[in-house]
């Protein structure tokens, strides 16, 4: 949590240490509360809820609204935490989660991520983000002094909540039959049903409780920092780190993780000064996450999965050469007739398309969901800005992010996809605050000037260049997919256990793809910077990364055409903003969120669905692909095969 504490510099060292530790513990208590909610939802539904923070944020706003309407504090709090938030959780479970069933990690990630953006967009639409709001802490003005440390009643309440809530949860999960059944459902959903417990009810209960905990944390947090939708939603990333310490399952470890994180952040804020890093505390969650990932035992590889869905066919080299050529000719024609006023937007879109293209090998082929692709893009832009616009600058724009990507991939090599995604998220968050806001990186408040590469000062010529780079990269990605590396990558995405039994090392493949994808994103970022001529922190914001990722997945991250259309849509939708009045600003997130949420149905994205629709299949003799939307789950097929 990035809240400023006014470190009393003139106090004696012991008191300072004490004050910092206590502040840190209070913050850690909120992390612990957040993480407990995450763990409850994860252990009862098997789904990691990225929207957990967004639920807490929405609850905080709801609570604020109730107070504004004149409701007294206690009823408003109880109404929010015990009625509204659980209702939201139950609705989420009913509408989204229940349909996910055995969906792939990639899909569950994007669906909850879409939910995050959706809730954020709702909050920003209902409560205009530019209006500052203050959520009063509980028991305003009341405080006690314990051994030179001043504690407000609000802070005491946080500590009390952090002690009682996990204890109550623990008792509930161990002592009551419903609590035991919640754990039983995770163990064996079917057996729980055969014993007479209703897995659906229990899933709803899990989401209700999780949302309620998110609401408690959100309200307590909002009064400590500020009532801002984005801040509150993203601060929960600290809670993720705590949950990873507990392996997403152990409550005591999770709480310890939260407390340690809070104290470390507070101490770092008070004692550590690194000249080039103005916000030390923001990188601590990432460090903790990485350490937790490194010392954690490797997860068991999952075996016995049937192909969840059939990927769109990969075009042959002749066909992709042909379509690349056709694309270039067509694009050149279009570039020639675009009005000069629109050149900027179109170039921007083409650069975004290159960044999105970097998701195809990572997410589309390998099934590794990277949540910080724009961070790599930003590193590329910064690298080119520092080296210059010559050929060397372009090389630096690829190599620098590629190296960072490989480094980031290292700690997660032996872990499952979720942890990789969490690591990328923490990395993106840290870079967001520590790197792109850093004066020594960005030179000044106006941003970092980025040169046009290769001296392409003519706007039309530059657009043509960017489009050509996109086409060349797309061709390269497809060629990579047809190569040995590509096959290994798809095998890796399909079944790491299968790879292991074949004696195929997966680590090098993972590393190479991570570096490749990061380098590609960096190239796109550099070209984007060249178009804008100046880049700033907001260009590579983490939330924008998520939006882009979801956009790509919704349109089809397994196909080149999918990401290309996604880039077009990304450019076009904001153009509509002016016509939509107050909803305008959030319309992109709303649409993307809704799209991602709808992904449970067609998991190859829109383009994938179109490509595999029977009307478009030219070879009816081929077996029809088994789509996941068939009313039979993989599990049933598996057990049925034994019957």
């Amino acid at each position: 949590m990035a809240h400023r504490n006014d470190t009393p510099q003139r106090m004696d060292p012991v008191s300072t240490l004490l004050a910092l530790t206590v502040t840190g513990l209070v913050t850690g208590c909120i992390y612990a509360l957040t993480a407990s909610g995450l763990v409850v939802t994860y252990t009862t539904s098997g789904i990691f809820n990225f929207a957990h923070g967004a639920v807490g944020m929405l609850a905080a706003f709801g609570y604020w609204q109730l107070l504004e309407k004149g409701m007294p504090t206690l009823p408003a709090f109880l109404l929010t935490v015990l009625v509204l938030a659980p209702l939201l959780g139950i609705v989420i479970e009913r509408v989204l989660i229940r349909r996910l069933g055995n969906a792939t990690l990639e899909v569950t990630l994007t669906v909850t991520m879409g939910l995050l953006l959706l809730l954020l967009a709702i909050a920003n639409t209902v409560w205009d983000a530019t209006t500052p709001r203050v959520l009063q802490p509980f028991f305003v003005g009341k405080q006690v002094t314990v051994a030179t440390v001043v504690l407000t009643y609000h802070q005491l309440l946080i500590i009390a909540a952090a002690i009682t809530v996990p204890l109550a949860l623990w008792a509930f999960l161990r002592m009551t039959r419903t609590g035991i059944a919640m754990r039983a459902v995770v163990d064996d959903r079917e057996l729980a049903a055969l014993a007479g417990a209703s897995p659906t009810r229990i899933g709803q209960l899990g989401w209700g409780i999780g949302s309620s905990l998110a609401a408690v944390a959100g309200i307590l947090l909002a009064a400590q920092v500020e009532l801002n939708a984005t801040t509150l939603t993203l601060l929960v990333i600290n809670g993720y780190a705590a949950a990873v310490v507990g392996r997403l399952t152990s409550l005591p470890l999770t709480i310890t993780g939260g407390l340690v994180l809070g104290v470390l952040q507070s101490l770092a804020l008070g004692y550590v000064t690194i000249s080039w890093l103005n916000q030390v505390q923001v990188i601590i969650p990432m460090l903790i996450l990485f350490v937790a990932l490194l010392i954690a035992p490797p997860t068991r590889l999952r075996v016995g999965q049937l192909a969840p869905l059939v990927a769109p066919r990969v075009p042959s080299s002749r066909r992709s050469l042909g379509s690349t050529g056709a694309f270039l000719v067509l694009a050149a024609g279009i570039v020639a007739i675009i009005p000069s006023g629109q050149l900027g937007n179109v170039t921007h879109g083409a650069a975004v398309a290159i960044i999105l293209l970097s998701l195809v090998p990572m997410v589309g082929y390998g099934g590794m969901v990277s949540l910080c692709q724009l961070t790599f893009a930003g590193i590329g832009a910064v690298a080119m800005a520092k080296v210059g616009g010559g050929p060397l600058g372009l090389v630096a724009a690829v190599l620098a992010p590629a190296a960072v990507g490989a480094l980031l991939a290292l700690p997660t090599l032996r872990l499952r996809g979720l942890y990789l995604s969490l690591a990328t998220l923490a990395f993106g968050y840290a870079m967001d605050n520590a790197f792109f806001q850093n004066a020594s990186v960005m030179t000044n408040n106006l941003g970092l000037p980025v040169p046009r590469p290769l001296g392409l000062d003519n706007d039309r010529g530059y657009l043509l260049f960017v489009v050509a780079v996109f086409a060349a990269c797309a061709f390269g990605v497809l060629a990579m997919r047809r190569s040995t590396l590509g096959r290994r990558l798809v095998a890796l995405g399909d079944s790491p256990a299968g790879c292991a039994t074949l004696g195929m090392g997966i680590h090098v493949t993972k590393l190479v793809v991570f570096a490749l994808s990061a380098g590609l994103a960096g190239l796109g970022g550099a070209l984007l910077g060249g178009q804008q001529s100046v880049v700033g922190q907001s260009d590579f914001a983490l939330l924008l990364s998520l939006t882009l990722l979801l956009m790509a997945v919704v349109w089809g991250v397994r196909t080149i055409s999918g990401v290309f259309i996604a880039a077009l849509a990304f450019e076009l939708i904001p153009q509509l903003n002016g016509h939509l009045g107050p909803v305008g600003d959030s319309v992109l997130s709303l649409l993307v969120g809704l799209g991602a949420v709808g992904l449970g149905r067609s998991q190859n994205g829109i383009v994938g669905a179109v490509l595999s629709s029977p009307g478009l299949r030219r070879l009816p003799s081929l077996p029809h692909p088994r789509s996941h939307s068939d009313d039979v789950s993989r599990e049933e097929v598996l057990t049925g095969a034994q019957g």
């Binding site: 039983a184 079917e190 049903a193 055969l194 014993a195 088994r626 097929v637 019957g643």
Partner: protein
């Protein structure tokens, strides 16, 4: 196999499958209100699918399922379980990450079954479980896990008990003990549908037998009547080799 009394569980014209794959074809099967009915058949004959339909885990594409004469087609597994159908699925039917006591607590969803009664019965019958009551079920031996699973059948006093390959992967001695227990449960008045791949042991404790192959019931009768035909059905109607008996 016609019985004057209402069958404990009856499948009428049931067809079922997964997606486009049909597994069961127009099955008629009645579990008599007493005794053990053994359902035999080789790998892939459709036995487990039949149990899935009977226990509500898979909906039949056509046909009816009747529990004590009441049509329960399409009822959810949890409702069926609370009404009195006890189904022990194949594999180890316990929750590995719950302790023994917590597992026993999960067996109390049937109305009228108290936590105390379950624990008393389970520990009286299997003293080993009492010693290990605070251990995770996943840490128990295969035999102990199966005993834990069977306590549900013992305490629930169900209208019908469905057992799916309970001997799978167990030492012969343990398997024999389990089959003895099944016989005893049946003698105490609970009708049992016992699904087995290993014909010999099942034939010893069964009162009646049905043999499945390729999604059809091929043969029904008493163990004596079908003994010779069982092997034949296994060999002639199924391309897959049967497993060796231990």
């Amino acid at each position: 196999m016609t019985s004057v009394m209402t069958a404990a569980l009856e499948l009428r014209g049931v067809s079922a499958g997964y997606g486009r794959v049909a597994v069961l074809h127009d099955i008629d099967l009645a579990v008599p209100p007493y005794g053990v009915l053994a359902l035999l058949g080789s790998n892939g004959a459709g036995k487990s699918t039949l149990l899935r339909v009977a226990s509500g885990r898979t909906s039949p594409s056509s046909g009816q399922v009747l529990l004590r004469g009441t049509d329960v087609t399409g009822r959810s597994p949890e409702r069926l379980s609370r009404t009195g159908l006890c189904s022990v699925p194949e594999g180890r039917a316990v929750f590995p990450n719950l302790t023994v006591t917590e597992n026993l607590r999960m067996w109390t969803y049937r109305p009228g079954v108290s936590r105390k009664a379950v624990e008393e019965q389970a520990f009286a019958r299997f003293p080993r479980l009492k010693e290990r009551r605070k251990q995770l079920a996943g840490r128990l031996s295969g035999g102990e896990q199966q005993m834990l699973a069977m306590t549900r059948a013992l305490t629930a006093e169900p209208d019908v008990l469905l057992l799916d390959e309970i001997s799978m992967g167990l030492a012969p001695v343990v398997a024999a003990e389990l089959f003895g227990l099944v016989r005893q449960i049946a003698d105490d008045g609970t009708p049992v549908l016992l699904v087995e791949q290993f014909a010999r042991t099942a034939l010893e404790i069964a009162d009646s037998v049905a043999v499945m192959a390729q999604g059809h019931i091929r043969v029904t009768g008493t163990p004596e009547e079908v003994r010779d035909q069982v092997l034949e059905t296994y060999l002639h109607t199924d391309a897959q080799p049967t497993r060796l008996e231990n």
